[in-house]
Symmetry: D2
Subunit: 383 residues, 4 copies
């Protein structure tokens, strides 16, 4: 573990207690250029380091035939060292300089998504809601939008129970060509209507680069599904849209690959990425997927991005979704996304993993009680 | 989902609220014989069913050329229907009889470990401690017993912080023949000494059938390691010992296989089995194993046995153990087992996944706060 | 195993010996409509069944309230039974009718790709080459097209050694946004130039629906990569293009999901699908992927489509590609696809899994010798 | 890849052509002591290196504060360098010494099983049979010994078809306590009788350390099952028995763990270990296991031990066993083990994966033809 990781590790409680500042916009362009130039080491300056101390570091880096690039932050400055031929002793050498807190070799292939560069939590704002940085959010709704009645009933029910955002698929990825593939733009219109009537922002999946513009006209958050986590054109198009993105982990993607996919979006200048763990494929068949809460906790450490969990897909069984939703929150997730359907037995898709509106209403007080004891703020906290 | 599963699903909260009775001893022998005779259906009688109603059911079963075997419970009686040729309409037919609550086809290959037969939680008693049935237990200690000083320091530290039981390996399974394999009986003696001085019961691993008698002389709970989950002779020998057993899930074992291994122990007349999820092997290598909390929640539904979780092995990283310990509790685990070492960097094994005594002391108040909000009793509750 | 599977199982050698007829075009439209109408059972008529016998079957089906749809084949006719409420005894009943060879319940969710409907091997024709039906094909070339010199050198070398087709990526899927992503259309032009000079048809990957038209202008076979196996818009667009498609199995896709993705392509009226096993993701990290030759043998049984194997990706190590290429052939693959690079150490991607031109030349005589003993024809056989 | 690996990689054909010498006995004790002393580098001397050149190397090693231990081989000597603090430049330095062929850092945790130390194939001799070193062996028989008639019928049938050895389980590992667990010693007696009547050596599983002596009295080769691959007491007991051991890979064991388990056996002074790949557990459920032929090819490179394959367990389907048996041979396996039963539908265990005697007889000529074209000798070659 790097010294920085250690530093991050020992102060997670502070994160929650301190007033959060959102640094993401101040430095995204500089981070971007750093990342593109293949930074191999970062030098974290102390918050009280002087300009002279910073310059001394830059001079030494040049003497080694390397380039130094400064990222000026609100609290502290960071120097990125560019060049492949980092002498093995450089780290120790630079850490002896006054004003240097620490120097860290960068070996992770993702940079924009990494906490090393960006120690504070990224906070994604969606309307009044804040996602990340110690809050918790509950997103609920049906797998697919099926009809006006179905989506309206659900939207009112989940708002009543305390959900913050509405989910629902207009375009559905289907492994068989013979099953319901969603209502398409009509589904988007129904979601927009539900938002208008309930005030809940909406998240819905976009499946192909050419649909991004269309879906972005309706949605507050663009969901990238597990099967598309490595559809790189789609990632870039969503990145260019500037809309907040909810990036599901692929069912066989490593945590590193997941963060690299986030990197694709951020590299387009869009830092508003919400990671979503939804279960991985393993040998166990008693559950549809294996919910990987290790990944939630580790992604929170390795990345500054908010991480939520989807226990409906993660378990594939409605009766396992509540305990795993509670577990996700306890593991450090910034929120959960749950499938809720007024009549799961008649759902066109994934009925077996959907909660009824009553199940959901019964779960919410437990979620809130747990969030309170964990010191988490409601996602509507700023209002 | 069977009707009975549904029934169990909707009343988990009741389980916690009601005074628990431990039915395990009343019927283990009958259950055993039922299981061995290949029961294909069970008929759950209402609690107020009369003897006549019961006899009418038995008569009808005989008329179909089948055998009926009654298990008399404190609250209600259960009839096991023996025979392979169950008519497809038998279930409906029997459910129309007065006094019958429901009839369920048994397809699960484990019977003694299944909740169908034994709807109440099994409670394993270890000294003053109760494991299962709504309590929560914290077991802590080093991976391996290394020296008197190490085990005593740890034992006092974890008791001080609130642990209920002490863990520590005297015999260690090692994948390489060149690594430390534990102190053997000397390690057992040190554990017994630690129990004498701290009052904490001890759990330690037994690796081979011929060691069961030796280890059982010292330990309060016999641990069966993940690599031995399908060492069937060992399971049977531990079953015969009558000692409480802590059965770790194999790293590639399905939930069904895990419960079948529990069945081996119970089938020797020993119902005191504690299941322990410790992470499964998946494609993800950023963590040592993938903690499967779906399995904790599902095992709690399918079985009456207590289920605990081991986030130290389940994550392989000390800094992920605390969030996953909290998540385990929220997912419904009856307790957690954690590796704690006074000096993890010098540990002979698994130092990287051990908490320090300070880490553990910092975690315990969070565990307790969470347990309270979840309505869980301390494992020392009866005192 | 169904009776039909059994029948297929016992006559694979016959397949190779008999003159092959390609039935795919005669019945694709009818099969398509059958599939879309949710056929639940198929009744295979004997090759000498009379029209009257056929009509008797259709009448009986109607009397059960079901619909029968006939697919007229060159050798024998097949009746698809449409309707969900198939009486459990219908199979036996119909098999007693004169002229009926057998009746089979369809439970597989893919129909167009299934052997049940289409017992003969599909043969995909690419220029002079025949893929499937007992031939074997060797496709070779670099992972990515890097320069004119690189692709020309490789193309001549692999043709000289006996390859039948040239592979090379113009658009490369890259998990990191900071790595080489291919030359794009310039790469396609270089591939076309290599084809012009060597006569080898070319296969190259298309990554997004909007690129299908462009890539189809240059390529003989459109490759759908593992990461896009469930990019359903892409599958459909490739289906509509009518070009032969090489469909790689996703790294965590089941065999059933793989065949369902083939179904998407065929359902657009394009039966020219070549399946390609390229290794799956498992816990084993000593190799990049785990080559699943069970899947090759099973896909050959369950589907009529040709199945090839890619041992370069399947192993990730150049020195394992030759033994696994031989093993693929022995397991029944209709061909192999291998990465060959004139200078793997300087390759922009996947150098570690590329054979040199010399390695490839050394392997080919072994491939040919093995193919001979297995009774397989060269893919250029018809010339 | 190390230089030595490269050297091994380019000369596998030579291995087959050259007269094989079995060096295993000459140096096992020295290798053992080397392994136990934690050798960190090995220096391979040229075959014509002089005593003075060897001494110069040893002196230089001492000057670095390290220890050198010489293993005298028939062809060449090898120096093991003991000590953790190997200077990074030591390799280059030693390779400039006259008489040194190469120096290799040892990072693999297994040493006795590694090819680095022992470049020639180990050949395990069982009666007249030679296993390893370019031969191929076919082991066939039922999963479990069920009766005298069953085992005798099978033994004569497989001998007639060309099998070299008879397999059959007397003690069966069963995941459920309610299934047939084998005939025990009676099964061993029937196997011995089958050997007496057919002349085929027998391999049978031993499940627990205390049974090793008993099983070793009857069996020619002791099988260690997949579930026991990390039952370390059993490995050691089999090691001490001196009997040839057939070590199945655990269903979730990495190749490295498999070789480490072999190390346990060899470390007891028993070099007669035959590795057996039998399929690993993955997400794919269409086959019982996923046969990992990458592992066969890689284990052959990394270890000098013979490696065979078990396509019956590896696929779990009788109709996939033949193509995968052929594929195993082509991938480089030193043999195959197949389940054959005179009446699979009535087998007490694993009938669905057993070939009939007729299936097996049909496969053998294909195996032999393939072995011929691959230049493999029959296991009875020396007679």
């Amino acid at each position: 573990m790097t010294a920085l990781e250690l530093a991050i590790a020992v102060r997670p409680r502070l994160h929650l207690a301190l007033p959060q500042k959102n640094h993401r916009l101040s430095s995204i362009d500089q981070l971007l250029s750093l990342a593109k130039e293949n930074v191999s080491m970062i030098v974290v300056m102390r918050s009280n380091a002087t300009e002279e101390e910073l310059n001394a570091v830059l001079t030494r880096i040049q003497e080694h035939g390397l380039k130094g690039r400064v990222t000026y932050g609100e609290e502290r400055n960071i120097v990125g060292v560019i060049g492949a031929a980092i002498p093995p002793t450089l780290r120790e050498e630079l850490e002896r300089f006054p004003g240097v807190q620490e120097a860290v070799r960068i070996t992770r292939p993702y940079k924009l998504a990494a906490r090393e560069f960006h120690p504070h939590d990224t906070i994604v704002q969606v309307g009044d809601l804040v996602i990340g940085g110690g809050s918790f959010i509950v997103i609920a709704g049906p797998c697919a939008v099926e009809s006006e009645e179905q989506i309206m009933t659900t939207a009112f029910a989940v708002r009543e129970a305390g959900a913050h955002m509405l989910r629902g698929g207009a375009f559905k990825p289907r492994s068989s060509p013979y099953t319901f593939r969603g209502l398409g733009e009509e589904g988007l219109r129904l979601l927009a209507q539900a938002r208008a009537e309930t005030g809940l922002p909406i998240v819905t999946e976009v499946m192909t680069p050419t649909d991004v513009e269309l879906v972005a006209r309706y949605a507050d958050v663009l969901q990238i599904g597990a099967r598309n986590m490595q559809n790189f054109q789609l990632l870039e198009e969503v990145g260019r849209s500037g809309k907040p993105a909810l990036l599901k982990r692929g069912m066989s993607a490593t945590i590193e690959e997941w963060l690299l996919s986030a990197e694709y979006i951020i590299a387009q200048g869009n830092p508003n990425v919400i990671l979503c763990e939804r279960g991985i494929r393993t040998f166990e068949t008693a559950t549809r997927n294996t919910m990987d809460l290790n990944a939630v906790a580790l992604a929170k450490r390795r990345s500054h991005l908010p991480v939520i969990a989807d226990p409906s897909h993660g378990t594939g069984k409605w009766y396992l979704a509540p305990p795993l939703a509670l577990a996700s929150l306890a593991a450090g997730a910034d929120g959960v996304m749950l499938e809720v359907h007024p009549d799961p037995d008649r759902a066109t898709s994934d009925g077996g993993q959907s909660l009824t509106c009553e199940n959901f209403a019964a779960l919410m007080p437990q979620m809130t009680a747990l969030a309170n004891v964990l010191g988490r703020r409601d996602a509507r906290w700023r209002r």
